[in-house]
Amino acid sequence: MNLVAAQKGSRKKRVSDTAAMSAPAYPPPYNPYASAVPGNMPPNMNMYDGRYVLPPPYTASPDYSRIHPSFPPADQGFSIPSQFLNEPLVANVAMQYGQALVGSGKQLVGQELEKYVPFSRIKYYFAVDTRYVTKKLGLLFFPFTHSDWSLRYEQDGPVQPRYEINAPDLYIPTMAYVTYVLVAGLVLGMQDRFTPEVLSIQASTALAWTVFEIIVELITMYITNIQTNLKTLDLIAYGGYKYVGIIFAVLLSILFHKTGYFIGLIYCSMSLIFFLVRTLKVQILPIGTSPSHHDPYMHNSGNKRRMYLLLFVAGIQPFLMWWLSFHLISPPVPKS
């Protein structure tokens, strides 16, 4: 009897203890966004138990205080995570963690991509403004009066094209390439030879020839062991300047057919050769006596090789210009 009474008493004490525990902490049960504060853990746990035990959540709160606060048995284990994640506190933490993860993931992807395609280096070549572009285009068509072809350098690299007219850029070559493809489409359309496949054929052919040219130049530089400051992107830039000449010659051919085309081609080839020789002379051939460029190591050797490389780079431009455009000019219409 004593035992039972003691147990009953203890049980009663337990119930009353839970009542004491739960009552003051019992704000209106369903207010998910008000309980994001960690101190409110206990009512959440109670509500969680209440939901698990399945009375509808909007019933009167005294019902909950009679429920023994215990964890659900293990066979209901799989429903725990979703209900647990529905808790507003956990949901907030999870969202923040997820967002932080996305941010660091993006950063990681950017870093990996940077290894293969150096975006920061490419950005340098696009730092141009209108004045630079107009002057450069003028220079491509008439380089004969320009006198100072040297490049200024900053501490870690050449000055941006925006501030230095002699620096190579990638805006003009890219735009010239796209314009070349569109002008080719236009000219072929005027000759009734246009289908949409032709555009892609032109684009990929020109791209393949440019890549081939640059690979040949790189291999030549490697084999002849010439050390220069020229980077691959520089070579891409210089290789792309010929598209400006091609566009000019093809547009002339619209008006003046074959004679116009050849005149335009010859003039643009000459000016491009002059432009390239003058520009690359600064970068490939060593500057003899200026003390800031004096390099006691191998930099001054192989002058003849360097000259040949220079002439090679400049000399293949006319051939490539002709190869990429001669099929676009219209044959003179036979008079019947």
């Binding site: 490419i122 696009f126 141009v128 403004d129 209108t130 572009v133 890219t174 735009m175 314009t179 569109l182």
Partner: protein, 147 residues
């Protein structure tokens, strides 16, 4: 969005893709009325042009470019093209007046698009450089409309 004399960067804070979509569908509808079924071409050129200009602008601009903003601006500036294709239903655009009108429409599209881009991305002295690729893109749309 009608071309205004002064634009400010806050216009681009809320990007919206519904307008551009409506304009593209209107362009397709007008082309349909003039007998050309070119929805696939519009879609393909639109996507490729947007990606190309997105790549170019993200390389040229100092501040970050989002694809959504860009598609929204390019789509809204398609309005003169839609008007041109509407005119094409009624008159034929292959004469001299047609070329002049087309040139005007392309110029209007690309100038307004480049103005919005330059204002939103704080690029200095680069508006003609941005206008040129936009003009190429809208020129391709004009080619579809006319021929």
């Amino acid at each position: 969005m009608i071309v205004s004399r002064t634009t400010d960067a806050s216009v681009l804070q809320d990007t919206d893709l519904a307008g551009p979509l409506v304009f593209c569908l209107a362009l397709g509808a007008f082309l349909l009325l003039s007998g050309k079924v070119h929805f696939g071409y519009i879609y393909a050129i639109g996507v490729m042009g947007c990606l190309g200009i997105y790549a170019l602008l993200s390389l040229m601009a100092v501040s970050a470019v989002t694809l959504g903003t860009m598609v929204s601006v390019l789509g809204y500036c398609l309005l003169p093209m839609v008007i041109l294709s509407g005119i094409n239903v009624v008159l034929s655009l292959q004469g001299l007046t047609g070329f002049v009108l087309t040139g005007l429409a392309i110029a209007w599209c690309s100038l307004s698009a480049s103005k919005l881009f330059v204002t939103a991305l704080f690029m200095d002295h680069q508006q003609p450089l941005v206008a040129y690729p936009c003009a190429l893109l809208y020129g391709v749309f004009a080619l579809i409309t006319i021929f």
